[in-house]
């Protein structure tokens, strides 16, 4: 979640003041283990479908399946590991405070405002606004695709940007995707750093900004340089930015609630979801 991109200095200050305490130490100490991914081949082998026996009795218990006991869990069992193991979290106590703060910020401020906004503005319009803001940061995607050697993606993003800005009426309609079927190449500088081998180093939960890592925070600051909003007259940004955030939240109401509902420890659930999600993005 980007908040006031009109003030990169503010974020840079946070970055310097907050995590540098023992960053170097943490890098050495918490370097995450790499777990190799198993690349399975793609097969289309079809055997006869077995549609019978699908229903099991409602009181299904494990014991009802007279299968041999599965092998016990081993750390090196590649089948179990689809992502790198846990992200280091040396600042967990501080991060948990931010997490509580963000939780309250969401339930006490963002959500009520977004619910009201949602009641007034129809979903079609809200999706259009989102498209507009996403189109605006196309330079971030183009440059980061190129930095990762994904020149086809960079080209597609450039074309999509021009189509959306013209035919898509300043980006309100994603014509590039809808009419020309040009897929998004969703890259940012955090992913670029990851692509070239940088680890997330450790997890950070920023007040207001939310989930991040040291790598992605550096990436976030880097991307500000490519974000047109950084260069737009400040007062305009300060008016439009909150609208963008509320618009964004209005399209995602319920997701955070769901995560909390399903979690035993919502903080850890969010941290891990973020870590897995970013890993997956980098490997794409």
């Amino acid at each position: 979640m980007r908040i006031n991109s009109g003030s990169p200095i503010w974020i840079a200050l946070w970055l310097i003041a907050f995590p540098s305490l023992s960053a170097a130490q943490a890098i050495v100490q918490f370097y995450p283990n790499e777990v190799s991914r198993v690349d399975s081949q793609f097969e289309t082998g079809v055997s006869e479908p077995a549609f019978e026996n699908i229903e099991k009795p409602s009181t299904w218990v494990a014991a009802a399946t007279p299968e041999p006991q599965g092998p016990e869990w081993k750390a090196d069992d590649a089948e179990f590991e689809t992502s790198e193991v846990n992200i280091p979290d040396p600042f967990e106590p501080l991060n948990r405070i931010s997490f509580q703060f963000n939780d309250k910020l969401y339930f006490w401020l963002l959500k009520p405002v977004a619910v009201g906004y949602k009641a007034v503005v129809s979903q079609e319009y809200r999706v259009c606004f989102r498209n507009f803001f996403e189109n605006l940061i196309a330079p971030v995607r183009v440059v980061n695709c190129a930095l990762q050697g994904k020149f086809k993606g960079a080209g597609y993003e450039t074309v999509r940007f021009f189509i959306n800005t013209t035919l898509g009426f300043f980006g309100f309609f994603d014509q590039g995707k809808d009419k020309f079927n040009i897929d998004k190449c969703d890259e940012d500088f955090g992913q670029t750093l990851g692509f070239w081998g940088m680890k997330p180093v450790f997890y950070l939960e920023w007040p207001v900004l939310g989930s991040s890592s040291l790598r992605d925070t550096i990436g976030f600051v880097g991307d500000l340089a490519l974000d047109p909003r950084t260069y737009i007259f400040r007062p305009i940004v300060s008016v439009v930015r909150p609208i963008e955030i509320v618009n964004d939240v209005s399209l995602r109401i319920g997701q955070y609630e769901d995560l909390k509902e399903a979690a035993i420890d919502p903080y850890v659930a969010k941290r891990d979801a973020y870590h897995q999600y970013r890993n997956n993005k980098i490997m794409e």
């Binding site: 689809t82 420890d265 897995q276």
Partner: protein, 202 residues
Amino acid sequence: MNRNFLFPMVSAFLLILGTGVPSMAGEPTEQIKQTTDKILSILADPNLKNPARAEERKQSVRRTIDGRFDWEELARRSLAQYWAQRTPDEKEEFIQLYRELLARTYLNKVQDYSGETVRYEGENIESDYATVKVRILTAKNTEISVDYRVMKRRSNWLVYDISIEGVSLVNNYRSQFNSILQKSTYEELVKKLKEKSLTEKP
């Protein structure tokens, strides 16, 4: 900073819903699709739409989902290295609690189905393990990629993990269980699970 990771890691069961014709329908895909269609037909059944039969409808969906999941495998993978330290009774209790937690959280989601469409994108098969790849298009015009990890038990392919936009359900719970078990005891974890899955929701 990155906004979408929270997205649907919890709408998993909702995602089994939907329509779509498998393009390269292998056995795992066929079976996932079969469960999907079954749930859809339950939700579409006019007789069950009567509020008085809401509970019956829910149970019917739950039975269908139950038959497609390998809960023991889910539990075993989620507890990971701690699984071996448990007695058979503890394992049994854990499986039931974990299943209850997931069922509770997700069954409510099933009711929220709002016309998402599902595209079956293919499957990877490696002897007794397979991944069924699915892509969901939501009403808000976003695409979500979902992988069903399935394993073959006799003639049935049973789900042992669901991964949404790269976020695996089992890995997510494993890190939570790990974090609790590192700081406190197994008894504490069971207590937390019970609080979460057995207390009546308002």
